[in-house]
């Protein structure tokens, strides 16, 4: 009998002690535990993904994705009951984002990263915040309205992007006679476009609008054709951490429920500080509605 009492007492002590050890609710989430220990949220950001995540004139990262992430940081502060948790911005590139997330340097990646199933073997994603796809930009007056019209011409793509994959697949599938020039990044692609090395440049439509708006003669170029791929952008978080992922999903669902997401969108895209002028599409509005999960 005393044994049973002892066992019960032991169990009761454990039960009482448990909430004490997990104070302020980092729970079983490794990322939240890490943030609690460091007192810092490390946000990975891009430097030229306009207007998602880029450097302002004063050297601070700003943009649509950054604003969303700052809402998530507020939720982390509330969850850990520690308003003093600070934010540390770490610049990442297409090549470094996975490595830095895998080794725990960054807790959130706030840029313009496409969510796809292959990549989900390596990282997890929060709900979709933007929807885009591959389109082509051409010189105005070249009489091209779809990729098929480029027969015999040269198209440029940024090597190793999802756009390259989509365009090559499309050309192969339809047996088109279009030459492909690969470039290293968007700025070189656009330089090739402006020096007439290529007749068309294929990329995510939002990035094409951005490139055109910043070019020397924006009126000379236009974005044409249908979407050749489907690229939903989402904030990237470490995999195998459902607690942290749920926290982020809850924040996004709330922003989408109370209309804050649409206000953020309009602030950056319609017309936005860089004059990109892309009003909220019906597809994205529906996506916001569908992802606005109830509490």
């Amino acid at each position: 009998m005393t044994r049973l009492l002892q066992a019960l007492l032991f169990a009761a002590t454990l039960a009482l002690a448990a909430p004490g050890t997990a104070q302020a609710d980092a729970g079983d989430s490794p990322v939240l535990q890490r943030i609690e220990a460091r007192g810092v949220v490390n946000i990975g950001h891009r430097e030229t993904s306009i207007p998602f995540s880029y450097m302002a004139d004063d050297g601070q990262p700003i943009g649509y994705s950054i604003d969303i992430c700052l809402h998530i940081v507020d939720a982390i502060r509330a969850e850990l009951e520690n308003p003093d948790i600070s934010v540390h911005f770490i610049p990442v590139t297409g090549q470094t984002r996975i490595a830095l997330m895998a080794n725990g340097t960054i807790d959130l990646e706030c840029g313009s990263t496409t969510n796809n199933l292959t990549r989900q073997r390596q990282v997890a994603y929060l709900p979709t915040t933007f929807i885009t796809g591959t389109k082509i930009a051409v010189r105005r007056g070249t009489d091209v309205s779809e990729i098929e019209d480029l027969e015999g011409m040269i198209i440029g793509v940024s090597a190793g992007t999802t756009n390259e994959k989509a365009i090559k697949a499309h050309i192969a599938e339809h047996g088109l006679n279009i030459r492909i020039t690969e470039v290293k990044d968007h700025s070189q692609g656009w330089l090739a476009m402006e020096t007439r090395r290529i007749d068309a440049y294929g990329s995510d439509d939002v990035l094409l609008y951005g490139l055109i708006s910043r070019s020397k003669s924006p009126d000379d170029f236009e974005v044409v054709g249908r979407f050749l791929s489907f690229d939903p952008y989402a904030i990237m978080v470490p995999r195998n951490d459902s607690g942290f992922q749920r926290l982020g999903t809850a924040v996004l669902a709330r922003l989408m429920r109370d209309g804050e997401m649409e206000r953020l969108y309009n602030r950056w895209f319609a017309p936005g500080p860089t004059n990109i002028n892309m009003p909220l599409s019906d597809t994205l509005r529906v996506a916001f509605q569908i992802q606005a999960l109830p509490e």
């Binding site: 490595a99 073997r121 040269i154 470039v183």
Partner: protein, 240 residues
């Protein structure tokens, strides 16, 4: 680490094929550029040691211009700026009709840059032979050409095999910069695999191993050349 290792992507279709293609492009760019670099560099190196001040200045100017511009800038200048300096029709031909524009530009840029380095090695080799040999040759009644052909160069080229090995190794590694103008060589392929699969660590490991294999092969080859070309008792070529 929350990294999900998956080494099998390296032997999966299409990634294995990409790696092989990337390796072939790396070899093609490097070897073609080396042909330019070695030929032009040797000529320039000889010019730098001739008695003619005009020729010496010309070669010296080439070396200073090409050696002092960073290689990355070379690629950029040859690819984007050079065609704009040509007459319109020629410029358009270079940009649009020239076969393999990125590859050709990369070979030319890398070759001309490395030539300036090879030139200095050749000059150092000829100067190391010393003026005694040169004067002895002249005293024997050799013409300037014959002095170079039969006296200076056979020794000079043997002396510079070790530093030339370094240049040859460097050209393979420098060829990775060709990715900046869109040549899909080994490094570009690993970046592409990373972008498609997010398995960057595996891809970069594979690239490291392949680059090491290339350089080990080159080192072995050069050591063989060094041994075969040695003239016993004439110059010390180290213990190797």
């Amino acid at each position: 680490m929350t990294y999900n290792w998956n080494w099998s992507i390296l032997i999966n279709d299409p990634y294995l094929g990409w790696l092989v293609d990337g390796l072939l492009w790396t070899l093609a760019v490097s070897l073609a550029a080396w042909v330019i670099a070695f030929t032009l560099g040797s000529v320039l190196g000889i010019l730098r040691t001739t008695p003619s001040p005009t020729l010496r200045t010309m070669a010296a100017t080439y070396v200073e211009v090409f050696r002092n511009i960073p290689l990355l800038v070379h690629f950029f200048l040859w690819y984007f700026v050079f065609p704009e300096l040509l007459p319109d029709a020629a410029g358009m031909w270079v940009k649009r009709e020239m076969p393999l524009p990125a590859f050709t530009t990369a070979v030319v840029a890398l070759g001309l840059y490395t030539a300036s380095r090879v030139c200095e090695q050749v000059r150092a080799g000829i100067e190391a032979v010393g003026s005694g040999q040169r004067n002895a040759g002249r005293a024997m009644g050799f013409t300037e050409q014959q002095v170079y052909r039969y006296v200076l160069l056979p020794v000079a080229f043997r002396i510079i095999v070790p530093p030339m090995t370094s240049e040859f190794l460097t050209i393979f590694k420098n060829s990775s910069l060709a990715l900046t103008i869109g040549v899909i060589e080994l490094t570009a392929v690993t970046r592409r695999i990373e972008e498609y699969t997010f398995q960057g660590f595996e891809a970069f490991t594979a690239a490291t191993v392949i680059y090491s294999l290339i350089t080990f092969t080159v080192m072995g080859l050069m050591r063989l050349i060094e041994r075969r070309s040695r003239v016993p008792g004439m110059i010390s070529l180290g213990s190797g």
